[in-house]
Amino acid sequence: MKKQLPFLLTLAVALFIMFGNYTFIGQKLQITGSIDRYFQVSQAAAFMVGAINLTRIHSTNILRRRSGYYNSVVLLLCLWAFFLLGLIKGNADKTYRWVYNATVVPMESTMFSLIAFYIASAAYRAFRAKSFEAVVLLLTAFVVMLGNVPLGDVIWRGIPVIKDWIMGVPNSAGMRGIAIGTYIGSFATSLRILLGLERAHLGGGS
């Protein structure tokens, strides 16, 4: 029963969505729109599941005085203070927005900017010409990088043209091949879920 009920629910919702998307009556009644709204509401309600998990783990850290437990204190304070502020004043409030813009936004930008350095270190490892494939990768990356900066055009007019060809023809062909396989794979996976063949998400192996 523990596995059958979620399976039956999945099947019913999937058939309902298909009905809403493909049938004349379904589109007229805008069934999928209302399902989407229910999904958003359940997502928002599920926030508590995550917040409780975070609180449990970090409360244990504090109670057992694990190393760095003071970080847990800061985390719990920030989590619940910001949550309460939003709950009391709403997310359009000036203070709420100030806290968000002065802390979350710059911290996220900092993390995003780290990617530039990681790209350099990953590229250094990937571009070592150890095999034929690595040499091809190195040469291609070199041409594409040169083609993206004005220097490439100064060295030889053909570099940006070759870069455009690499990006537009072999790169797009490869990407689209993978994308088509992914879409069909997603479809077959959905079908396996609908038929109850894929059961990992119900707990336990397939």
Partner: protein, 273 residues
């Protein structure tokens, strides 16, 4: 001067029940569905079906967990940023069930970090069940299944912190990833972890390819449950999807020929119906 606007003709259902504009799409889906269903039935009947080719990324999972066991360090698993409505997350669950079972058998600590609350709740259930099936329910530690944040980079920061503190010996990333993919993969490399990654997001695949030991490309992640279990019915569905892929490629070639030789492309017209 007066203009009389003609009222738009009300839309009529196609074939009595289908909405106009999705008929081609509907029949394409039905054809793919039929293909997968036929292959599943063939497999069920014990008829011969092609085997799945070797996927090194999947074969590397027990090796990665084994290495972590020998080193006495944990295994980290991330399903990425995908929500419960993303098919890549379902593929991640098949992996998680497999990895959790191996970790339970080897007595290796498994740390699972999550961004989505619902995915987190399901992951808890999958890992708990895997430990039960392995006969080691006492080894299950709910504190190792962590929801970090629903914000992309706050989640990434949390994962990087875990890499720094807990130094996992194996880092497995299967699911839908965005810009955090390279952050995870480089941090994993710095902590000396063996890394297996797979995503359906084509813009992130190059990052995984250059920074991980094994990468599963796009649809390969969907073959996990069939590949691991070798159950004929699941293998049949993978074969069905591959035949569907061949048909799509034939349609692309035909479409290219029609587009360049005919006034109106019949394939495009059919799909727009």
């Amino acid at each position: 001067m007066e203009f009389i606007a003609a009222a738009a003709a009300p839309k009529q259902p196609v074939l009595g029940f289908l909405a106009p504009g999705v008929v081609g799409q509907f029949f394409t889906i039905m054809l793919l569905l039929l293909l997968v269903y036929v292959m599943i039935q063939r497999a069920k009947a014990g008829l011969r079906i092609p085997a799945i080719r070797k996927i090194p990324g999947l074969d590397a999972v027990p090796e990665a967990v084994g290495r972590a066991t020998e080193m006495g360090r944990p295994v980290h698993f991330s399903p990425g940023l995908g929500s419960v409505s993303n098919p890549a997350t379902f593929a991640a669950w098949a992996f998680l069930a497999y990895i959790a079972k191996i970790c339970a058998q080897y007595d290796t600590r498994l740390i699972n970090t999550n961004r989505d609350y619902l995915v987190h709740a399901i992951n808890e259930e999958i890992i708990k069940q895997a430990y039960l099936e392995a006969g080691k329910p006492e080894a299950y530690n709910p504190d190792d299944i962590r929801w970090l944040s629903d914000s992309q980079f706050a989640y990434a920061t949390g994962v990087l912190g875990i890499f720094q503190r807990e130094r996992p010996a194996a880092n497995i990333m299967i699911g839908y990833f965005y810009a955090e993919s390279l952050l995870f993969a480089e941090a994993g490399h710095l902590s000396g972890a063996i890394q297996v990654a797979g995503t359906t997001n084509t813009t992130q695949l190059p990052f995984f390819i250059v920074s991980c030991d094994y990468t599963l490309l796009g649809e390969e992640i969907y073959a996990a449950s069939a590949y691991v279990s070798q159950e004929p019915v699941l293998v049949g569905s993978v074969v069905g999807q591959d035949i569907g892929k061949i048909l799509v490629f034939i349609a692309i070639i035909l479409g290219t020929i029609f587009e360049n030789t005919m006034k109106t492309n019949p394939l495009t017209a059919l799909l727009r119906k």
